[in-house]
């Protein structure tokens, strides 16, 4: 519980502070990059889980994450192409990627039920953090209507994932 909470808080504050550190609200090319990166991170974690997880619900959840996040990221790529926007790397994306790589390495050391629990707990925390950032930072900052709408749909999808992850976590106890 403590670990899960602290992970959520760390991720949230990283998302918040990195974006705020730039002084101004993120631009659309930066928002697109952050949203896409957030998806890539969850896909990487899920791919690790599809090979490492032992519980069948955890495995199925990981497969759902790969499928959904790949579909959403494909939509995001189609949209930036259509809008002729080039996603722009930024401090928030960099911090997110660095933190995710550390988490992946940490999870790689775990096995069996211990791994399953840690992966699902991180999924709850991660989706919570991303949803918080979408709600308070990314959606309000987006200026293009289509990008805003895609982020809003993304938020609904990821809220679904958060609930799904919570259900899987509850069953592991």
């Amino acid at each position: 519980m403590f670990v899960r909470l602290s992970a959520a808080i760390t991720a949230l504050s990283i998302l918040g502070s990195a974006a705020l550190a730039q002084g101004a609200k993120p631009t659309d090319p930066q928002i697109a990059h952050i949203a896409y990166t957030a998806g890539v991170i969850d896909i990487a974690a899920a791919k690790q889980a599809t090979t490492k997880a032992s519980n069948k619900d955890v495995k199925a959840f990981a497969q759902d994450m790969v499928r959904d996040h790949e579909a959403v990221n494909k939509q995001a790529l189609d949209l930036v192409k259509k809008l002729k926007v080039t996603p722009e790397d930024n401090d928030t994306s960099k911090t997110l990627s660095k933190q995710a790589a550390d988490k992946l390495a940490e999870l790689a050391k775990l096995k069996g039920a211990e791994y399953d629990k840690a992966y699902v707990a991180n999924e709850v925390a991660y989706h919570k953090a991303v949803n918080g950032a979408l709600e308070t930072q990314l959606i309000p900052s987006a200026s293009n209507a289509e990008l805003k709408s895609l982020l809003q749909t993304g938020l609904k999808i990821f809220q679904g994932h958060e609930q799904h992850a919570e259900q899987v976590a509850a069953k592991l106890k």
Partner: protein
């Protein structure tokens, strides 16, 4: 002969209308932007539901009481026939924030 045939025809007509059950309906429920629409649907046993998924994600319509569990791939339509009466709450297993109600009359 003629009146007799007439009566027979009348009887057939009457009997026919009574014997043929109310035609089973086809009801469309769409899944778009993670919302089941309409959120509340009334139907009868024997009716067909057309589950129309307009999202790029797979969705399920999973009855909380276990009566049905239909998976619809992205951008596809799947049909299912209602077999049991009842007021059934259902949701999407992949996105449990998607919820709706199907009221099925016998």
């Amino acid at each position: 002969m003629r009146p007799g045939r007439y009566r027979l025809a009348m009887a057939a007509l009457l009997f026919g209308t009574m014997a043929v059950p109310a035609h089973a309906a086809t009801i469309q429920i769409t899944m778009q932007d993670l919302v089941f629409a309409p959120a509340e649907v009334s139907a009868r046993v024997g009716d067909t539901i057309e589950w129309i998924n307009k999202d790029v994600l797979a969705h399920t319509a999973t009855a909380r009481n276990g009566d049905f569990d239909v998976t619809t791939p992205p951008k596809k339509t799947v049909t299912s026939v209602l077999k049991k009466a009842g007021s059934v709450e259902y949701y999407c297993r992949f996105h449990p924030n998607m919820k709706a109600v199907l009221t099925i009359a016998p």
